[in-house]
Amino acid sequence: MNPKLDTPQRPLPQGSARPGFENVVLRLIKGAPERLAIEAGQVDAIIDTASGTAILLPEAQRALIERKTRFRSLVALCSDWHWQQDEHHRFAARESAGAGKPGIDDATIIGKTLWEMPFDNMSEADWQTHRNQLEWRATFNDLELRYVDRAGEVRYISVDGEPIFDEQDEFRGYRGTARDITGRKRTEVLLQGPDRHARSALDALAAQICVLDPAGTVIMANTAWCACAVNSGIGTGVLEGDNFLAVCDGAAGNERTAGGAIAAGIRKVIAGERELFRHEYATDTPGGPVWIVLTVTGYRADSAARAVVSRETIAGRKRAEPLLELDYTVANQAPDASRQISRRISIANSLLAALPDAEYQRLLSGLEPVTLTYGDVLYAPGAPIRHVYFPIDSLVSLLTTVDNRRHALEVGLIGHEGMVGISLALGISVSPVRALVQGTGTAMRMEAAPFCKELLQSMPLQRMLYRYTHALMAQFAQTAACNNFHSVEARLARWLLMTRDRLLSNEFRLTHQLLAEMLGIRRGGVTTAAGALQKRKLISYSRGNIRILDRKSLEAAACRCYRIIKNLQGSKPAWPEAVSGRP
């Protein structure tokens, strides 16, 4: 039986002020102990033997009424309105707990069931589950419903309800409360999780983080972002309410290029064209140049897209790292911008670097540097190839899709050693694979038409590309066999090493989901394999950051395919090398 919180049945109409009340009570109570207890004020109710009902004494009655009032005000505090439904679950009454509280209009609610109302987040199956609950006369809590109010704004309410029974235990309907939880839901969505401590968690982070609305206005910024005392380059001093995009667009001087790239990246993320955007840039501070990485991730809240921007100084991170076996250790040890830049220039594309000077100079007029960002799709399967790309420090993955593109498997990985769009060199202007950028960085890009023209004119370029095509074909073949025969762990190790070789970095960002797609396995398989490698201290993996700790042992853990693919780059040419390599 449910506890009843209504006023008790048949209370005395007035308090002890009523004349003769004491006499009535004392007439009803004949026993001495009862009388003594009443006189001591220790009795709440007496039973009227004639009517078989309980009669509350005035004190108790007052207390209960006060309690009920208090209860009502508590209900009002924690809910926006209460409601009652009849036995057919149609709303019979709805009362706002306070003026000005948001809610659904009476006109639209009375006489209707919940499922007849314009809530848009419940499927027919969800409503059936709810109706079953009602049929079982179960109490329901936190039924979250979404609707669009008259102002066109998306709102959420949370509804609690319990069944009501009359004295004969007959079901009489439901009653309950509802709260407008739009604010909470928005915050939840903002924080990408139901954790209401997330905001304070964000504040506790050292990384500078802010959230942008679709227009680029900062709607939330954590403490680190707000307190950013050192110059963090673009967007320093942009606080809640300011427009980050406008600041990027308006960046001047040295920051103009970076500002434009960041603004474009954020717009792509907000438009949903890309999940993640990373941009590294240098900024001058009184203490010297500082490298900063800006990461933008997108998500959809309500119907609007938002972007989370985080800013970190890489110099500090790099300094904190133990000495790793990096190809560019020296360049990385000192937070010296000029060395950083020289490193960037020295890592050119191997194919371009192998061209004779004259050929290279001719090609150069058609080449333009572009930033490829993580998540960019350069070609879709079957789509025309508009540009060819020579990655410098970016990484592009070639994926074959099956089952209406539901599943994808990586067949090739291209970095500074190769070219993306090799089909064009073979006379085919349509890409058979999807080319997805895996590592943000720069590349040299050339339009398809001038490239084809150059190719026809330049024998060295042809030879070089044929050799490269051979290497790529062999990589495809080896990868296909590897995916079929080798263990997930060995394949993961191979993939990490290949990525390392191409990015020239022992550290990169990868999610489980992406790795699973690359290797054509389930996410669980990635977790196990990555866990095993981590346990052997070959890699460290946390929150999508992978770091290779022991390259040699990782090579030992990888399948032989890694060596085979790596050696392909140095295959002996059938034609005599008539050209000298560029230094």
Binding site: A37, D44, G52
Partner: protein, 108 residues
């Protein structure tokens, strides 16, 4: 309002007797609330798990109280072990409750 605390079976030779009691109250009226708190405290302290207490809200079940011969609430009726006893009031007088429940001998 009805709450039941099932007494567990005999756990030790000295405390094998399960005390069965009914407490009649009037919803959340002040004396009733006090009585519930007092009896719960006494049971916890002196009876451990060897008791069975049923709380009956007379506003919901007036006829039950009438049938049990209860005229006012709060009232505590000890049903077993015999002799039966009845205490009226908010049970704030702990010694009186202990005597009525026959627990005086066990109190130090």
């Amino acid at each position: 309002m009805r709450r039941k605390k099932p007494g567990r079976g005999a756990s030790g030779p000295a405390a094998t007797t399960v005390v069965v009691m009914n407490l009649y109250i009037a919803n959340n009226a002040p004396n009733s609330v006090q009585a519930v708190a007092n009896i719960e405290a006494i049971c916890k302290e002196h009876l451990k798990d060897n008791f069975k207490l049923e709380i009956i809200d007379v506003l919901e079940y007036p006829l039950r109280a009438l049938a049990d011969g209860i005229l006012v609430t709060p009232s505590l009726a000890k049903l077993s072990p015999t002799p039966a006893a009845k205490i009226i009031g908010n049970l704030s007088d702990k010694s009186k409750v202990l005597i009525a429940l026959g627990l005086t001998g066990k109190v130090a």
